[in-house]
């Protein structure tokens, strides 16, 4: 049996599945239920400074986009940080941590960008026995208008400064949560690293308008005829998050910086992918908000069975295992040649591969043979783009076959070279150093 025990920035948990700072972790009732369901840890929903709590809009707070069968694939929210009194949250954090000593309880924080504000809140959080803090530098709406959240996360100097304040004023590990609403994730991440962060977590939500109500001409979610950009999350953002995680994981300046992967993780496989790209653990929110806490059972058993199958005993055996294979385009092997191949036994003849290729790509799939409806790749036209694979409704019906060295590429008429050759040395590259 694979061991899913997780140690992240010094914080221990029985598994790497943590709930992200969000409504599911807003109070003891939810967190207790989450721990009962089996979650390894929680990021308690962001606390602000003492005083009158923030107020939220009274609905709607979420917008969504859907895939087929109304499957939720993207969710956006305009909720702010916790709207409950600070003392109540602190009491509950203390009690929950006492009840669940083996689970990770990390507290998300967001206070104004003044050292005193941080100096005030850090000791009271520390007193709860929480395992660590997560600095919410990502919230893209509302709080950012008040100079917090993403307003800090978009300025690397502020990130470094606040991180430094926190490190100087608490014993707790400091995890810096990053906003994706920037041009290059490496700059804010490096700032956190410079400031002494114990880890970074990403991505926070993406600025978004989910849809426009065409009856009243207002963005969704609409509050009394108006809307604002909210934070976008859910399965649709996973590719963006994976890339940002990989960019940090392979950055030479941040080697060894633990990453908590967040963004559209919906099942064990998504989690494994984040871990393979260098995440020490993962945080989940939208999947739980869609299906409830029970999904963690599938995540635990799925990851565990996959690790057993692959022979990985602990998470460390594959954390970051895919990072060395993330590279720049210029280093991709231009001598690697693939051709699509349609499995005629599996093909149901929907013809989507043909029309996609014919209308929008390389005219490399025939639609008939001997006067009959038939879809087959024309190797002499196929550039191996993979579009047909992606539009095919049947799993594994079309596969990309790699030509072996010495085989003839029917498109170019040339023999496939067995040698690696990339753009840096290509004859068409004016800057070729080859």
């Amino acid at each position: 049996m694979a061991n899913l025990k997780n140690s992240f920035a010094g914080i221990k948990s029985p598994n790497p599945f943590w709930l992200a700072s969000a409504p599911p972790t807003d109070k003891a009732y939810n967190v207790e239920r989450a721990f009962k369901a089996g979650w390894g840890g929680v990021m308690w929903k962001t606390l602000g400074e003492d005083g009158p709590p923030v107020v939220n809009v009274n609905g709607p707070r979420y917008g969504a986009i859907f895939g087929g069968d109304r499957r939720l694939i993207g969710l956006n929210n305009i909720e702010l940080i916790t709207d409950r009194p600070l003392q109540l949250n602190l009491q509950e954090i203390k009690q929950v941590k006492k009840n669940w000593p083996d689970r990770a309880v990390v507290v998300s924080l967001m206070v104004p960008c003044e050292e005193d504000a941080w100096k005030t809140i850090l000791p009271v959080v520390e007193e709860t026995g929480a395992d660590g803090i997560e600095l919410n530098f990502g919230c893209p709406h509302g709080m950012s208008e008040r100079g917090m959240g993403a307003a800090v996360g978009q300025v690397p100097e502020y990130i470094e400064m606040v991180t430094r304040w926190c490190k100087a004023n608490t014993r707790m590990p400091v995890i810096v949560k990053l906003t994706p609403n920037i041009t290059d994730i490496r700059y804010p991440a490096r700032a956190a690293y410079q400031g002494g962060a114990d880890a970074v977590s990403l991505i926070n939500t993406i600025n978004s308008i989910t849809s426009v109500n065409l009856d009243i001409f207002a963005p969704e979610p609409t509050i009394d005829g108006k809307g604002t950009h909210g934070g976008y999350c859910g399965p649709a953002v996973k590719p963006i998050a994976l890339n940002m995680v990989a960019e940090i994981a392979r950055d030479e300046q941040m080697q060894g910086l633990p990453i908590s992967g967040i963004g559209g993780i919906n099942n064990w496989r998504d989690a494994a992918e984040f871990i393979a790209l260098g995440s020490g653990n993962v945080q989940i929110c939208t999947a739980a908000m869609t299906y409830g806490f029970k999904i963690v059972e599938e995540m635990i058993s799925g990851l565990s069975n996959w690790m057993d199958e692959k022979g990985y005993e602990t998470l460390d055996d594959f954390i970051g295992k895919a990072v060395p294979n993330v590279t720049d385009w210029q280093y991709l092997n231009l001598n690697h040649i693939t051709k699509a191949k349609i499995n005629q036994d599996l093909c149901i003849s929907c013809g989507r591969c043909h029309i996609a290729c014919e209308d929008t790509s390389h005219q490399a799939i025939m639609d008939s043979k001997d006067g009959k409806r038939h879809f087959e790749v024309k190797n002499e036209e196929c550039v191996g783009c993979n579009l047909c694979v992606n539009v095919c409704p049947i799993e594994n019906c079309i596969e990309m076959v790699t030509l072996k060295a010495g085989e003839i590429d029917e498109r170019t008429g040339e023999k496939v070279s067995g040698n690696y050759a990339n753009w840096t040395k290509h004859k068409n590259n004016p800057n070729s150093n080859g």
Binding site: G68, I348, I355, P393
Partner: protein, 449 residues
């Protein structure tokens, strides 16, 4: 089983009123909004979609389903009506299991085709209920066209001709328009007087006049019409009924299924229809199935459908056969009627001989069986009554047309069941009418130059 079913003789009111109501309501309840969206979401929007190729009217199925998916059901209805103005009835009566849905790639992928017929009904019902009119009569051409037969072929032809600006006059022998849609389809497939509702919707285009109770041969002749009008379209259907050729075929209790089905359709209160206790239906097509099922629904105790060939050769699809058996009809294959048994002029049973195929030829095996019956319904096909169209070339007893539905008289066109190679399907009739109208318009426009 209700005790009414055990009563002897040919009697009405075998069931209670609620049972009649339930038995003759819609065969499939229409899809709701949610069901339609889920079902539409299953469509792959295939390239050169096989469902469209399989549709005799070549409806752009993938497009109309995508329109339903994207909250545009009226756009979907127009996509359907553009090809088949009888899209509403066809959604109810088409044997989709051997047409579009059989061709659906989901059938290949997981043996569960997209419910194309049901989705078509969803869109077309909405348009008809809202009386959303997509077409208007074209600018007057000054041409007048006569259509004989107010069935799907005739009305589809008239509708398209009206779109072109021609004036159309339809003549029908019956007291009501609709043809088989009104008189020949099982009641549970056209519940709530849908056939008339649909015709009223279609005729709103205007420029079409229907003359009922006007019979070719007695009220007018083909020559009268071809002299008076710029073109004539024949959507005659098959008004003749095939006979068994047995003794006692005129006995009390022996009846043509097609007449019984028509009577049933025209009778609002189904409890008033008398039906026997033991019923034998002879035939293997849709009328035989419709007859057998409805006999059962009227409360007959035993309904046996006898067909002289096997399952595969039956005109009715496997789906229809299973529908019949699920209602309690017993289907017996390889049985050929030999003798109608009577007592005092009333049918008491039928003697049949088992058959088999020998070298591709159907032969009697000499083994016989007898079935008790107080009613025998013949559903062994219809034929074209040709005595009033003698001037036209026929083939195998039906009207021969060219690929533009032109008969041997170039002013006269024909379509639907009455033509050679006709498919006996509402959808084919509708498509024929449409295409004949296109050809007529082409021909008349040429003449105008």
């Amino acid at each position: 089983m209700g005790e009414g079913q055990l009563k002897k003789g040919i009697i009405s009111e075998r069931l209670n009123l609620d049972e009649y109501k339930e038995n003759f309501c819609d065969l499939h309840s229409p899809l709701g909004q949610h069901e339609a969206l889920v079902e539409a979401g299953r469509c792959y929007f295939c390239y050169d979609a096989p469902c469209q190729t399989a549709c005799p009217a070549e409806i752009d199925v993938a497009l109309f389903i995508r329109e339903i998916s994207n909250s545009n059901p009226l756009g979907a209805a127009k996509t359907i009506f553009d090809q088949n103005i009888f899209g509403g009835m066809c959604a109810r009566v088409c044997p989709v299991e051997i047409l579009c849905e059989e061709a659906c790639v989901r059938q290949e992928a997981e043996s569960k085709p997209v419910k194309i017929g049901q989705l078509q009904r969803f869109a077309t019902d909405l348009a008809i209920d809202k009386n959303k009119q997509f077409y208007q009569a074209g600018d007057p051409s000054g041409k007048k066209i006569a259509v004989i037969g107010a069935g799907p072929a005739g009305i589809a032809c008239a509708h398209r001709l009206s779109m072109y600006g021609h004036e159309v006059e339809i003549f029908d022998a019956k007291e009501k328009a609709g043809g088989l849609n009104e008189f020949g389809i099982a009641a549970y497939k056209s519940a709530n007087d849908f056939a008339q509702k649909e015709i009223n919707y279609i005729l709103k285009i205007g420029n079409i006049k229907i003359n009922t109770n006007k019979k070719l041969g007695s009220d007018f002749s083909l020559d009268d019409l071809s002299n008076k009008y710029d073109a004539v379209f024949l959507g005659l259907g098959l008004a003749g009924v095939n006979a068994l050729g047995l003794k006692n075929e005129d006995a009390k209790g022996v009846q043509d299924a097609i007449d019984f089905i028509a009577e049933l359709r025209q009778t609002k209160d189904k409890s008033k229809i008398a039906i026997g206790q033991n019923i034998v239906v002879i035939g293997g097509g849709m009328s035989a199935i419709d007859m057998a099922i409805q006999a059962k629904l009227l409360g007959a105790q035993n309904v046996t459908l006898c067909y002289r060939r096997g399952i595969e050769q039956m005109g009715a699809s496997i789906y229809e056969q299973e529908l019949a058996t699920s209602k309690g009809v017993v289907i017996k294959h390889w049985l050929s009627p030999k003798k109608i048994l009577t007592k005092k002029g009333q049918v008491t049973g039928i003697k049949l001989e088992y058959t088999s195929l020998k070298n591709g030829k159907l032969m009697g095996t000499k083994e016989k069986t007898t079935l008790e019956a107080d009613q025998i319904f013949k559903a062994i096909g219809q034929n074209l009554i040709s005595k009033n169209i003698k001037s036209l070339n026929l083939k195998n007893g039906r009207i021969l047309v060219d690929d533009e539905f032109r008969t041997s008289n170039e002013k006269i066109f024909a379509g639907g069941d009455c033509i050679f190679d006709g498919e006996d399907l509402t959808v084919t009739a509708s498509a024929n009418g449409r295409d004949a109208a296109i050809a007529i318009n082409k021909q008349l426009s040429k003449g105008a130059k």
